[in-house]
Symmetry: C2
Subunit: 450 residues, 2 copies
């Protein structure tokens, strides 16, 4: 496969703008903030993920000689002087990064990542940061909904085959785990992130034998303790009867098609009547939070769920519109806040912090977006943006993915009940401090002349 | 970033089944076919893409010692004998592959890829093949619709920041180009696939200057011939007036927000009145085929489109449900066709071929799915599945992505008019030969007892 070129994993304009900053000798220090303007319906919260991969990228991004050659021969760069390409050879990201730790619950208009760096550096990294944080945050947020719908029953992420390629499959597995899945079928995610991996058998295993029962027996000989038998290849209830009659004792059986609520009841009856009360029922097949809620509302005796396509592609909200906006430029020791005044896209100027107020029982009450230099707007509020990188170097140790997941689950448990439901509705109230609003008006007036 | 482990870029059950085949000494030759059961609404055709990456993977897939160590210590494999792990060290894909060439138009129930290999090998590669072909085919199919809606105006893929991670961004760019985009903003795709890359400027460039006009002037000094100025940061029409007044002559201006039809007309008027009749208008901002059709129906003087998020995530149909089903097993010189009889999921048994019948004017009329050994069901029909790999080795030279795109455009032009429209409706008729239907009944009866 192609060797990746992460420095070129960006939009061309990031690099042409870099050349233009370079050639105009613009050395300003810029602050960009990554945030989502509106929660995609019907999401009522976001669960932050992908920060670890964003930081890894910032530490490692370099231009190879192949990358630089490509740019040098690109028609857009024909008038760009050699000095710029020499600079790219030495390129490092040397900025400061504040971010919400992975597993933090976030809402609209809250900076999730804040990058302060020489403007050229901060610009080049935009596309990668957005793609990474948008994607994993989207999947973790979806997973949290699916897991909530399962009401304590384990959910395993099964969606690699429909993810947007094999890398997306791996990171979808990571984000789904952070969102509360107990594991994934994706083995590469298991290797890289220490996530538990699970599997059952496929229809092809069953179909490769002349008799379904032989398929079951042969598989269980190799995996005596951990077998989940897939029983819907031909006739689900008949297959359960064959298992009982043959005296097989699988750990679980999987239903992957048909009316899962009805079939699970019939299969449960067959298993129980045959003494297989310890054999669990695992359901899969086009599931999402709504289907799971429906199946459980029908009282189906399903013990665990495998959720694939609709989780690994966040099918009902398949993209997250995170943006990365310039909020401040410091040039010649003068600090200048910036806003964009396009209709419907007015931004909040200046470096910001997000504060979270909590009720005495630990439940989240409201968030505040403030200028970074402001005092906490509510006494005792929690500061959500944390320093992650200074001068291009990581601060603090890497977190295990397992720890991130534990933090995420604790954070999700502190959401108000309504936000954890599947009902559409608003997120947590996000308030803007008076000082920040005044600053927004002041800066916007400078540009709109009003 | 993590080094990828492509052999583990799979579902765990592919590997447990591999161990079970190995331990049961099952050496059957299996044929699997990859196909889509139903076209996702409102798609009326699929444009095949991702075959090149699938073949690269099949040539290159190996288990590293790290991969094998991981499996050896995995709880599921605790009872698997050492011989299996020794086998994995030697693992190669040694099968035969037939596939539709990239850029072929495909429909429901038509095998797009057919793999014949020792069953263990054919099984392990399932997840990667599906993720790759599902994803790129989905994006190429979406791109073809977007490009059709633009009625000859160039479309550039701009969606990297919302793609499902940076690898998805690169392959989305490739697939969008195959589907007819003239290029992409994704530089890595430019490097790896020779795709033209384009860029304009971002709001941040404009916002980093105290005056919008200074931002325009400074950028044009560096890129005199190729500048597209983004003019919606503050006030779109005012920005156009400033450009004219200052005597700048950008190649194009970009509108990225607001009512694009109205703004484009006003901006066109300002530019023309100022003598900038050669300056093109480029539109972007939450576009897709429907928005483009709407803007053009209003007579908007837009010359080219940048399409991002909704293209790079195929937002209205964000996953393609391709499956990979066992259709035949050859063991002990006996060939056994296979079907799955789960409700709604009855498959077609045996190795198959797809034939396409064409009208005298070249327009596609109907497709036939037949057993591979059957004669063409219609004289002169085109055989869609082509041999791509034999014994694990590629047949024939790699195609340039540019050539694939040209073939795709020629193929798309042969679709009946209705299928190229945005109206929902059926695809091309896909007929099953009598012999294949009889075979399906015969094989299904064996399993359902009917």
């Amino acid at each position: 496969m192609k060797r990746r070129s992460l420095a070129l994993a960006t939009d061309l304009y990031e690099l042409t703008m870099a050349a233009a900053y370079f050639c105009n000798d613009i050395r300003s220090i810029a602050t960009f903030e990554l945030f989502v303007r509106e929660l995609p319906q019907p999401r009522r919260f976001l669960l932050v993920a992908g920060i670890e991969q964003a930081l890894e990228y910032l530490e490692e991004v370099r231009f190879s000689s192949e990358d630089i050659d490509y740019l040098r021969h690109h028609p857009s760069f024909s008038a760009v002087p050699r000095a710029f390409f020499d600079y790219l050879e030495e390129f490092r990201f040397e900025g400061d990064v504040w971010a919400m730790p992975e597993g933090t619950v976030a809402f609209a208009n809250e900076p999730i990542v804040r990058v302060t760096a020489p403007i050229l550096q901060a610009q080049i990294v935009e596309t990668f940061l957005l793609a990474t944080v948008n994607f994993q945050t989207m999947i973790a947020s979806k997973a949290a909904r699916v897991v909530a719908a399962a009401r304590g029953r384990p959910v395993i992420e099964f969606g690699s085959r429909r993810a947007h390629g094999s890398e997306a499959a791996m990171y979808a597995a990571r984000a789904a785990y952070i969102g509360g899945c107990i594991g994934t079928s994706n083995v590469e995610a298991g290797l890289h992130f220490g996530i538990p991996t699970f599997g059952t058998i496929a229809h092809s295993w069953v179909m490769s034998f002349d008799e379904e029962l032989t398929a079951f027996e042969r598989y269980m000989q190799v995996f005596p303790g951990t077998t989940t038998l897939l029983i819907d290849t031909y006739d689900t209830v008949e297959a359960a009867k064959k298992i009982v009659a043959a005296g097989l004792k699988p750990q679980a059986v999987r239903l992957d098609s048909g009316d899962l609520a009805t079939l699970s009841r019939e299969v449960r009856r067959v298993l129980d009547a045959g003494g297989l009360t310890a054999t669990r029922i695992f359901a899969s097949g086009d599931l999402d939070e709504y289907r799971i809620a429906e199946i459980l509302a029908q009282g189906a005796p399903v013990d665990a769920f495998g959720v694939g396509t609709r989780l690994s592609t966040s099918a009902d909200a398949p993209n997250l519109g995170g943006v990365y906006k310039l909020v401040e430029v410091v040039a010649d020791h003068e600090r200048k806040a910036r806003v964009k005044t396009s209709p419907g896209k007015l931004t909040l100027p200046g470096r910001k912090q997000v504060w979270r107020a909590t009720a005495p029982d630990g439940v989240y009450v409201e968030d505040w977006v403030a200028l970074a230099e402001e005092e906490p707007p509510i006494p005792g509020a929690q500061q959500l943006l944390q320093p992650m990188m200074a001068g291009g170097r990581r601060l603090g140790p890497r977190q295990e993915t397992r720890e991130i997941r534990e933090n995420a689950l604790q954070n999700l448990a502190r959401l108000p009940e309504a936000l954890r439901s599947l009902e559409p509705g608003p997120g947590l109230p996000v308030r803007i401090t008076e000082r920040l609003l005044a600053e927004q008006q002041r800066v916007a007036a400078r540009w709109t002349g009003r």
